[in-house]
């Protein structure tokens, strides 16, 4: 947009898989050379082959390699990369890494390290939000003086969610319905927090029933100009991870949309946000919303925003990092149609979404103008427990939400990914559920509809068909069915 030369001559991508391929894709378009780093186990991965250059990084585990900041920066220097794109996860929100990159004279394609520090601290970021007129869920921390804690907590209002301050992953969390249980629950929570996390500090916050996860994509030039690219809804989650995201959110009052986006921009402007970020909110059924946190990186689900705004977020990231600023203004950003993203994961939904392993035996993804199948897959590649279980993102756009749901469902059904258990059938069942189409979503969607989303009983007719097709793949069956010697096969099951 307005520049003849690429934003960088060469960048290094400190990531792997799907997001590395995504970044390489834009870089190719812009004429930016790419360097991929990979663990030995992924030397044949798709992202390594797509990059212009690659280098092996070592670590005790594959993940450890991608967390080795020193090695990565050293590799960037050796390969002549001018900047580093951290992707998401790994070192993307590690302020130490960001600082080290800049200290090495390279450009960190992301926010300023101080911003990462601020937004990475739950308590600091909440206070910052409050100070800048962004609503936060009322909460109370403490617990040493149990009675004082209980009194302050009660004043927040019920139901309450009690959490361990040092905790995560759902441990040490409990919902308190009324004042009568509060004291005992607080005591239990403190002892659990001590036992699991070594820190008895607890906090209580207002528990929103049927909360919606609404997040706003922001872009800042680091000089004070911040744009929003509207919101995304990511309420369909399992094991506290998003599996279906969409842009814009369904069943959302436009005025409320504006309010939420404005709050996100206000917060980001206050810190003169640089590069891409996502401000996450909890939206209650009554229309109140609370700030949750800011993710100082590009997010997994960014493609849905790209498809409804027509913008390339990675390209904009590169422009900002190259000091070219934001080449557009808020009025330039419009919403057209609706986009849905389904995260295709290697897991067994029937076994509590336990991650699965295997090998990509055959891949035939859906294709079309309105379809993106973001993946780092290669036929023959192993699917291991080394990394996250997400295999691909199926992103579909359509003129409106119902059409997008249908298109996504069709695309899921059309996706051929053989060699490992996946949640493809499960995702299709979610999209088929009337509640997904007609009702406002909430983060308890998966739990609420668990029974309805379970694998339906197979009709004998369908089962037989599948079994027969399967039998044809087994040598034992084929030998019995096709290699019976003659004339015995022709005589058949005759008995005299």
């Amino acid at each position: 947009m307005g520049h003849d030369t690429p934003p960088f001559k060469r960048i290094l991508i400190a990531n792997r898989g799907e997001i590395a391929c995504r970044v390489i894709d834009t870089c190719r378009r812009l004429g930016v050379e790419t360097v991929a780093v990979h663990h030995l186990s992924e030397r044949n991965a798709r992202f390594v082959r797509l990059a212009d250059a690659s280098a092996e990084i070592t670590g005790d585990t594959p993940v450890a390699a991608y967390l080795d900041a020193e090695q990565i920066i050293e590799t960037a220097r050796e390969t002549g990369a001018e900047a580093i794109h951290p992707g998401y996860g790994f070192l993307s929100e590690n302020s130490g890494f960001a600082r080290a990159v800049e200290a090495a004279g390279l450009v960190f394609i992301g926010p300023a390290p101080d911003t990462i520090d601020l937004m990475g601290d739950k308590i600091r970021s909440r206070r910052f939000a409050e100070e800048n007129g962004v609503p936060v869920a009322p909460s109370v921390t403490g617990g040493e003086d149990i009675d004082a804690f209980v009194e302050k907590a009660a004043s927040i209002g019920f139901p309450l969610l009690i959490k361990a301050s040092a905790g995560g992953g759902g441990k040490g969390m409990s919902i308190v319905e009324g004042k009568q249980d509060l004291l005992t629950r607080a005591r239990t929570a403190r002892s659990e927090a001590e036992r699991y996390f070594g820190d008895p500090t607890i906090y209580a916050e207002r528990y929103v029933e049927r909360p919606r996860h609404i997040e706003v994509q922001v872009l800042g030039d680091g000089q004070g100009k911040v744009l929003h690219l509207f919101e995304r809804e990511c309420s369909v989650q399992r094991r506290f991870q998003k599996i279906i995201e969409e842009a814009p959110a369904g069943h959302l009052d436009p005025a409320l949309r504006d309010e939420i986006c404005a709050a996100a921009v206000r917060l980001s402007e206050a810190v003169a946000y640089r590069n891409a970020g996502t401000v996450e909110f909890i939206l209650a059924p009554d229309g109140t919303f609370y700030f949750l946190e800011t993710n100082t990186r590009l997010q997994v689900e960014h493609p849905v925003t790209e498809m409804v705004t027509g913008l390339d977020l990675v390209a904009l990231q590169l422009d900002i990092a190259a000091g070219r600023g934001l080449p557009l203004d808020q009025p330039d950003i419009t919403l057209t149609g609706h986009a849905l993203e389904c995260r295709v994961c290697a897991e067994v939904p029937e076994q509590d979404f336990m991650p699965a392993t295997g090998r990509i035996l055959h891949l035939d993804p859906p294709a079309g103008d309105n379809i993106r199948f973001e993946n780092g897959l290669r036929e023959g590649a192993d699917v291991t427990l080394d990394f996250d279980s997400m295999l691909a993102k199926l992103v579909v756009a359509a003129p409106d939400r119902p059409a997008a749901i249908d298109a996504a469902k069709q695309a899921l059904e059309r996706t051929v990914l053989l060699g490992v258990e996946t949640n493809l059938n499960y995702l299709a069942r979610i999209l088929s559920h009337p509640a997904f189409r007609d009702d406002p979503l909430h983060t308890g969607f998966v739990a609420e509809h668990q029974a309805a989303l379970a694998e339906p009983d197979l009709s004998p007719h369908v089962a037989a068909r599948v079994l027969m097709a399967a039998a044809l793949t087994f040598r034992e069956f084929r030998t019995l069915a096709f290699d019976a010697p003659e004339p015995y096969a022709s005589i058949g099951g005759w008995r005299n």
Binding site: D364, L417, L418, L458, A464, L467, A470, S490
Partner: protein, 167 residues
Amino acid sequence: MKLKLRLNGTPHEMDIAALKPDLELRIDGRGHALRETGGTGALRHARIDGEDITYHQARSGNRAFLHLGGRTWIVEFVDPRDAAREKVQGSGDIRAPMPGVVVSVEKQPGDPVTAGDTILTIESMKLQTNLTAERDGVLAEILKSEGDVFEKGAIVARLQEEEDGDA
């Protein structure tokens, strides 16, 4: 000889009723007709019960992955020897792997056990071994007590019989 296949964890029996001129199968007691009509690699065509279908398939070991009718399926081939064993696996007999003596008994009859739970500890040739439950269940009886000597293969404990040996 019947073939056993597992679809979504449920076992099914498949028998071949006729080979020529067309393959006729019996699956869970119902008759079906099957013919391969073409395809190479992952994409295949077949005529099943008079209907032409197209599907994708890939196999790894004893697992077949299929894409058929807009859904992904996984069918496991159960080796006939394993299939024949599965009927007995639920018998829950815990046998001594070698001769020795019982060092300690960890569970009592009536105790519920999960697969992997130690039921008793034995010693043999200066090596102590834990004898564990092969599956979840309830301990029915302990046939040896502390200090008892036993020979290889002796049944030292029993789990209660399972209702359904095919799960």
